[in-house]
Subunit: 193 residues, 2 copies
DNA sequence: CGGCCTCCATACGGTTGCGTATGGAGGCGA
DNA sequence: TCGCCTCCATACGCAACCGTATGGAGGCCG
């Protein structure tokens, strides 16, 4: 049992812990839920701790966004060392869209584009994903125009259908959204075993 | 010049004016911007006026949502008295998605689905639009399954692409989003003159 | 063991928005 | 004209959140 004011050195908090907690709050309640006191409560700490690690709330949001963007970069980097283009695409979609929390974060960030910090990051990450997907299609022999068109259709279609499912306008779609996106790209629905 | 405390009877405010202003605030700043004092300022009035017409903020949000839903119903009702299915579909898309403020409101409401009031309305309106579009495709001879699939692809694709354009991840799409949706539905891009 | 440094708690003031209370200005009918 | 009714302004208390100030507990090191 952890008593008041007694915290082992190993379980002390760092900026990364705060950023992680901020991302969790973001996924659950949107950018407005990334508030100092609520996140502090989530970590079982008080505001005094927060303002030791961060200058202000803006710094927390920036740290959370940076951690999220780094995660997406880590995913793409891991893809480079994969065998085929199809497998890379499939893995990208699975990692980027399959994870529920990650999908929720993307949704929240798109919703809060008006915030300058959020806008810059979500715009950069989206462009990165789109260009990576387009590059994969190019490797598979599709033309520049067709690759562009299919990537937009697949990414946009995924986002829109995910939104429709989220709001409850659509009960279910046949198969997974990732499989649908693969089909839009003109690729086989499952990676070859 | 309107002086302080002097307001002609004709220019007095009613609940509809507040709902309209609330929708404008919603389109610009999201649900959080639908706050009593800011909207009052927008109307050049003070809170005292608001609480005469409404019980609380919740009532204002409900009135705004009702007015928006009534607008979409009015659009659909107007479509019934149109010549062909293709023209009805085209007009629906134009009215529902072509108008910038309406599109912005839809985006905001989808973003705030977690709010129970918003969720109910946006779910109902989305279902209504989807079923109307599906019905039009049925009239054109498409099968139940194909109509469903194409409607989801068109509506979802529109939502996703609109989001990508809004966040600045995509600079421009070839042609209008409405034309793209029409193509997804298997319909000619422009209504026959 | 005494002093310092790190991490955190508590307390406070400032801002913003919600909701209430109270009163005032002007139209309108008796 | 007098009184009422409608619409709105002003002032207040309350709550949530941001940021600051101050102090305290515990590890570490001379």
């Amino acid at each position: 049992m952890v008593e008041r004011g007694k915290r082992g050195v190993a379980e002390r908090l760092g900026p990364d812990d705060w950023a992680r907690a901020a991302l969790a709050a973001l996924a659950e309640g949107g950018l407005g839920a990334v508030a100092v006191e609520p996140v502090a409560v989530r970590l079982g700490v008080s505001k005094g701790s927060f303002y030791w690690h961060f200058a202000n709330r803006r710094a927390l949001v920036e740290a959370a966004l940076a951690q999220w963007e780094a995660g997406t970069e880590r995913v793409i980097a891991r893809l480079e060392s994969l065998d085929g283009p199809v497998a890379r695409m499939r893995t990208l979609l699975d990692l980027a869209f399959g994870d529920a929390e990650n999908a929720a974060i993307s949704f929240r960030l798109i919703s809060e584009v008006d915030d300058p910090l959020v806008g810059e990051v979500v715009r950069r990450v989206s462009r990165r994903r789109l260009e990576f997907m387009q590059e994969v299609l190019r490797e598979l022999g599709q033309s520049e125009e067709e690759a562009r068109r299919r990537v937009l259709a697949a990414y946009g279609g995924y986002l829109g259908l995910a939104a429709l499912v989220r709001i409850g306008a659509v009960d279910e779609v046949s198969g997974s959204l990732v499989d649908l996106a693969m089909a839009e790209l003109g690729l086989p629905p499952a990676a070859p075993s």
